[in-house]
């Protein structure tokens, strides 16, 4: 017979210290492009290189809508070509719209006991895999009071991935309607925020916000587990959100 308890104890504690301290272990995040000053023609080249229109010209720099970024690395600076720097962070969950921050978060009562129903609305499997990792010993979201529930009747929040394929519109709507109030929705991944590489099209809605109201978005393709964790902490007001569109701070600019 295998003594599993002994085997488990031998590993020691693997769990991350986040959100107490920053987790900088290699490979926990793919990073993200950050807005930077770029001269022409490089500025035009990175805007052109982005297949999903996440990068736009912004005066002498570029602005990045992370909700559209699919982590293709086509804009990344390499040793041969100029491009945008990538930052190895993950605290990038944001409100869907900068102007309507009020009413997005849940009251303090939910802060340490939030029940979450996960819905796959046509995701490729990577977002779901990253969400599933939240239960592994490295992230162990139970310690923060986040629980996955199999039924919407017990759920406070919906975690939705995917561009909402045609056949998932109705099931998604039904799950949302079956939840008791107050209820909140987190859209994870570029597909759930903007349709990503798929939509909008004849077969996908092009984002969860087209079907049910969204309160917090977690960009990424897929968002790494720590980014999803940040999104959950934003929802219960234990962490501040990031800005939806990243811009070069004025202090970085010459002559300002």
């Amino acid at each position: 017979m295998t003594n599993w308890v002994l085997r488990g104890l031998r590993n020691g504690i693997k769990t991350t210290r986040y959100p107490g301290t920053r987790d900088a272990a290699p490979g926990v995040t793919p990073g993200r492009p950050v807005a930077a000053l770029l001269a022409e023609p490089e500025r035009g080249a990175v805007v052109e290189a982005c297949p999903t229109g996440a990068i736009a010209r912004n005066g002498d720099a570029v602005a990045i809508d992370l909700g559209k970024c699919v982590h293709c690395f086509r804009c990344a600076a390499s040793h041969t070509e100029a491009g945008l720097p990538w930052k190895q962070d993950y605290e990038w969950a944001a409100y869907p719209n900068e102007t309507t921050a009020a009413g997005r978060t849940l009251e303090a009562a939910f802060g340490r006991s939030l029940h979450i129903r996960f819905v796959d609305a046509g995701a490729c499997g990577a977002c779901m895999s990253e969400a599933r990792q939240l239960n592994n010993p490295y992230y162990n979201m139970h310690r923060l009071g986040f629980f996955i529930t199999p039924t919407p009747r017990n759920a406070d929040a919906l975690l939705v991935a995917g561009p909402v394929s045609d056949a998932m519109r109705l099931p998604l709507r039904k799950v949302y309607d079956a939840m008791p109030t107050p209820k909140r929705v987190i859209a994870i991944g570029a597909c759930a925020i903007s349709g990503g590489v798929f939509g909008p099209s004849f077969s996908s809605a092009g984002g969860v916000g087209e079907v049910i109201p969204v309160d917090v978005t977690v960009p990424g393709c897929p968002p790494p587990p720590l980014a999803i964790l940040h999104g959950l902490l934003v929802l219960v007001a234990r962490k501040p959100p990031a800005a939806r569109v990243s811009q070069t701070p004025a202090s970085a600019r010459t002559g300002q």
């Binding site: 017979m1 290699p26 490979g27 699919v70 046509g122 996955i148 561009p163 590489v197 798929f198």
Partner: protein, 535 residues
Amino acid sequence: MNDVARDSRQLDDAAELLWSRWKGRILVKRVEQAAALKVECGKEDLREFCEWISEERGRLLATQVVEETSAGFLLTYVFYPESTEPWIFVETRIAAGETAPSLVALSRGPSFDWHEREAEDLFGLRFEGHPRLGEFVLHEEWPEGVNPMRRSFSAKAWRGERDSNASWRPPRALLEPGSFAMPIGPIFSDFAESSHFLLETVGEDVVRTIPRFFYKYRGVEKIAEGQTIDRVLLLAERFSGASAFAHGLAFCQAVEAICEIEPPPRAKALRVLFAELERLRHHAASITGICNSTALAIATSQASLIEEELLRLTGEIVRHRYFFGVIALGGVACDLDDAQARRLGDRVKEIGGRIGELHRLLRYSSSFLDRLEEVGVVSPEAALTYGLVGPIGRASGLKRDVRKLRPYAIYDGVDFVAPTEQEGDGYARLRVFFREAEQSALIISQTLSNLPTGHLVAGPARTRSGAALGAVEAPSGAAFHWVRLTEDGAVTRWRVTPPSFPNWHGFHLAAEKFAFQDFPIILATFGLSNAECDR
């Protein structure tokens, strides 16, 4: 005798055999590059020819490709052997308004079944003699007679009305009083991909399972139409995140075959390295899923530690935890320096050892084995007629692996085995996952010890018009990507036949006559992706 001469003689021999047997009824052409033969066959001879090629010549169906032409439809059936003999592309033309002959009544008919149902739904092409066409990819709310893969249908513009009163009532086998069908899905369990299962039961024992898929149909083949190679590559990587590198590779191999691009030696070696690292992670995830389905908590934790560490290792080496943006046309986009290569080798060796240890510990956990043994059995005969592939097929005795049958990249120079089992039950599938993971770790260390130097990407090449098939052994089995290109580099047809397409088709074979509580276990031992199947 060198490979080229051997291939050429094999092509001649195979062509001669076809000529002598089918004189006057078919046209045979050599496709030198692909080591394949193209056979043009009239629709009246199609059934007989396909029966002969699969039953007497032992060829397996890889894929069926439907393409709309100005005069109607061009159907291409691709058959591959369980040896290194030539592949056969059978072409049949169907005039507009006519029906195609259904092949479901052949000895290996089930392997044609889903292809024909999909083509009927998406192209509106009827297959004469198919017993159950209709409602397959497109569910009941979708209006009749609107076929999204037709040229006249626009992927962007159309947003039609849905039938809000439509209902799905599949034929039931159990009609006894007290019997009922228990629905599961499309949203179920803690984390499950969207799919639906009707379990027909009289109480405790489930007699039959009626699965329903394509809830996640995003029309990727339609969206890709007319797009550039680069844009379609983004879709190829992102329609199935669990095997992104394998599908990106299959797509690139098809385009490289059309444009005659030869990736440099270092790129080929790195492709094998990355593909095996992805397989290792995929199988670790499947093993986690199986442990979780039996509620063996500590084993689940152990397996998920391995999975997360492989994700981190991948992220560290190639930037992205799921290999997005790593494959490039004509090579790869990421390199390894010496320090990274050493680190990769050390970590994979260490993790490989822990996978072996987990396997040993599980073998001595009788309560775990009781849940897997003789559960979800797929017999070798059924696996053959359904054309199952990958670990699922190999657990039922089908020794087929594209890495062996048509070695790509540097697989012909790598020493490895494709493990097979005979029982076809849940435990056999678990053993195949473990043994393949161990083989992947070995392939990685072999490749690292002999990594060629040089460029990562082939020099720029002119795009050409034409069509080709890319075949790759993805983590869950054979993946086939058919690509047709125009001269200016636009993709006009991209047909993906992922391994989960035949394997989900065969799932109901394993889900018959079982105790209700075994359902999640049977599901987990298949370890399949719906995103990959639904596209």
